[in-house]
Symmetry: C2
Subunit: 370 residues, 2 copies
C-alpha cells in the first residue's frame, strides 16, 4: 500500500470510524482501524463486532494494499499534524508516514486479522431526510431502557409503513416500561412492504452522531439479521435485536380528564428548583387546577421544601400525581416548542406530554404510586 492523502480527508475519515473502536480490547485488532485502497479511494473501517463503520475518502493511490493500525494512536497523530498532506506506505505490518519534516513508523497488524464487516442487500429499503430523522431521534431515543436485562426495550423500535401521508412513514419508539416516547417521521418515498425492527441503542446513538455531521438523504438497507445506514460516504452496519417489541400503543390512553397548556421553559425551571428538594426516588408532586395552573412541590427532611406555581391554561377537572422529575425533564429538555400540553387522568394512570400544536410526537409517563 502506498498513497498520498490530505490531512483533512484523513481526519474526517478517522473521525467517522473512531467512535466504535475499543481501547484495550484483548483481541488487539479490534483496537485498530483498517486502511484499504478501494477503487481509487481509501476505505477506513472499524468494528466492535456488533457495529461496523466504513467510510471512504479521496487520495492519490500509488500502490494497492491494506493494513490495520491502532485507532487511538493514528487519530492523535493525524490530529496533531501541522502539515497539509501526508504520504502513507505499508511495509510488512508497519505503516510509514512521511509529511514534510515528520517521519513516523506506526506498528500495525495484517489486514487479514480484521473481522469481515458483512455485506448487505444492494437495494435500499427506505430513504429519509437526515434532518427529519435527526430531529425524530433526538425526541425519543433517551427513553429506552438503559438496562440490557430486557433486550427488546434496550433497543429502539423502528416501524416502517407505506401509509401515513403520500410518502410513507417511519414510527420510532423507545420505552423503559415507566415512560414511552413515540415520534412519526416522514419517509422520502413509500416502502414496498411494512417492516418492524429493533435496533440496538448503541447503533442508533452512533447513527445520531453521524447525522450530526452529515446532511442530505439517508438510505436504509436490511438483511435478515442486519441493518445498514448509509449517508454521504459513510456506512454504519449493525445487527438487529431479535425479539418482539412490546405492543406499547395499547397503553396510550385515549382520553384525559385534565389538560394544561404551559410554557416549557417555566415548567423546566419549576421542576429543577423543586428537584433540589425531592426524595431519593426523585418524587415531585404536580397539581393541576384551573385556579392556580400547575403547582410543583417537593419536600425533604434534610434539605427543606419548595413550592413553585407555574401559570397554565387549564381545562377539565383538578388533578394531582407524583412523578420522577427526571422523566419529565428528559422530555421537556428535548423538545423545542415554546409551549407543551400536559394531560392527566388520575394519580394512578399514565400522563401525557405533547408539544403544543404538533401531533407526530407523544410522551407517556407513569406516575409514582405513594
Amino acid at each position: 500500500m502506498k498513497l498520498i492523502c490530505t490531512k483533512d480527508n484523513l481526519k474526517k475519515g478517522l473521525f467517522a470510524v473512531s467512535r466504535v473502536v475499543g481501547v484495550g480490547n484483548p483481541l488487539q485488532v479490534l483496537n485498530n482501524i483498517l486502511l484499504k485502497t478501494d477503487q481509487g479511494r481509501i476505505r477506513l473501517s472499524s468494528t466492535n463486532l456488533e457495529i461496523g463503520v466504513n467510510t471512504w475518502v479521496g487520495g492519490k493511490i500509488e500502490e494497492e494494499g491494506a493494513l490495520t493500525v491502532p485507532a487511538k494512536l493514528i487519530n492523535e497523530y493525524i490530529n496533531n499534524l501541522p502539515t497539509e498532506k501526508v504520504q502513507l506506505s505499508a511495509k510488512d505490518t508497519t505503516l510509514n508516514l512521511i509529511s514534510e519534516n515528520y517521519k513516523t513508523n506506526i506498528k500495525g497488524l495484517p489486514s487479514e486479522e480484521f473481522p469481515l464487516i458483512p455485506q448487505i442487500a444492494e437495494e435500499a429499503y427506505a430513504k429519509i431526510d437526515s434532518n427529519e430523522l435527526k430531529s425524530a431521534l433526538s425526541e425519543t431515543i433517551w427513553a429506552a431502557a438503559g438496562n440490557e436485562t430486557q433486550p427488546e426495550i434496550s433497543g429502539i423500535f423502528l416501524g416502517f409503513s407505506a401509509e401515513g401521508g403520500e410518502t410513507g412513514k417511519l414510527r420510532i419508539a423507545a420505552t423503559d416500561r415507566y415512560r414511552l416516547a413515540e415520534r412519526n417521521a416522514q419517509l422520502k418515498e413509500p416502502v414496498k412492504s411494512p417492516k418492524e425492527v429493533i435496533v440496538p441503542f448503541r447503533t442508533i446513538s452512533e447513527l445520531f452522531k453521524i447525522l450530526g455531521v452529515s446532511s442530505g438523504e439517508l438510505e436504509i438497507y436490511f438483511s435478515e439479521t442486519q441493518v445498514l445506514f448509509k449517508i454521504d460516504e459513510t456506512e454504519l452496519i449493525s445487527r438487529l435485536i431479535d425479539g418482539q417489541y412490546p405492543d406499547y400503543q395499547q397503553i396510550i390512553p385515549k382520553g384525559f380528564k385534565t389538560e394544561a397548556v404551559v410554557s416549557r421553559e417555566e415548567l423546566i425551571h419549576a421542576l429543577k428548583a423543586t428537584s433540589l428538594f425531592a426524595s431519593e426516588s426523585n418524587n415531585i408532586q404536580l397539581e393541576i387546577s384551573e385556579g392556580s395552573g400547575i403547582r410543583v412541590t417537593a419536600s425533604s427532611a434534610a434539605a427543606g421544601e419548595n413550592e413553585t406555581l407555574v401559570s397554565a391554561k387549564v381545562s377539565g377537572s383538578a388533578n394531582a400525581a407524583m412523578f420522577n422529575f427526571r422523566y419529565l425533564l428528559d422530555c421537556l429538555n428535548n423538545l423545542s416548542e415554546t409551549n407543551v400540553v400536559v394531560r392527566m387522568i388520575s394519580d394512578a394512570s399514565p400522563a401525557m406530554i405533547q408539544p403544543e400544536g404538533r401531533t407526530n410526537y407523544v410522551y407517556i409517563v407513569m406516575p409514582i404510586k405513594t
Copy 2:
C-alpha cells in the same frame, strides 16, 4: 435576618465563595456558606479551615442577622431561578426564599457554628496590578510539586523586594526539583521591607481563578502566619507554609554551550507527535545542531517511532539530551510568544527555556539520565 437581593448579585457572590467549600464534609457547617448582613451589604463567607473567602454584595437589608446554608443547594437553587429578585429571611435555622411564584425553605445551621475567618493587619503590605499577577502565575504555578511529602515545594514562593525597577518587584517561583519556573512581576509601589513566603498551591490556584473574573489592583496583607489577598469586593485568606524554600537560584546555570531560537508552535507539534512514541517515563530525545535545527525523536517497541525536524536558529556547539516531554510542553503551552530560546550545556546539566526577547521569565528543566 431579612433582606432583598438581585439574583445576579447573589449569583456573583456565591460564585466567588463556592469553590473552597467541601461537599460531604463530616463537619457539616464546612459544607455551608455563611450569609450575614454587614453594614448595609450582604457578606458571603466560606472556608475549608485552610482557606477562607469573604465577598460582599449589595442588597436591601430589612433586618440584621446571619445564617449558614448548604453551598451546593443554594448555588443550584439560585442559578436555576428565572426571576430577577429574591427575598431572603431566616427563621431559626431555616432560610426562607420568596421570589414571584417561588417559595422555598432551605434548612441551614446557626452562624455560631461557622469557623471564624481570621482578621489580618489593616495596612496593605504590597499592591500589584491584577493582570500582571495573573500572567505571572500562569507561567509558573504548574511547576510546583504535586506531592505534599515536601511541603515547602508543594507551595509557591513569593519574594517581595524594594529593588527591581522604580516600583519594586515580586519574584514568583515554583519547582518540583526536576524543573523550575521563575517570573519577576512588577509591583505598583516599593515595599517597605523585603519579605519571602511560601503560599499553598491550592490558595494560589484559587487566587488565579478569582483574578480571572476581576480587574484592577490587588492588595496583599500579611500576619505572622497568614496572607490575605484583596481585590474588588473579595478577600482570600490562607495560612502560609512554614519552612525554608530551597535556594533554587544557585542551580540556574550562568552560561550555556548551545542556543536555539525556535517557533514555539512548531516545537509543540513536534513534541506532541513524538510523545506518542515515548517510553513510559515520557522520554524523548532533543538534538540541537547548526545544520538541522532541533531533531525530536522517540521510539517504542510497541507503538513505533517518530522523528521530527524543527528548523531553528542555532548557535554554539551541537548538543543532545533526553527530557520528559510533559515538562517541556508544560512550559511551552503556558507561554504566548511566537519564538522561544532553548539553551543546553550537556546531557547531564539543566537546560533552559525562555520566551524570545523577554528576561523576566526563566524555565529550567533537568535532563533524564540514561
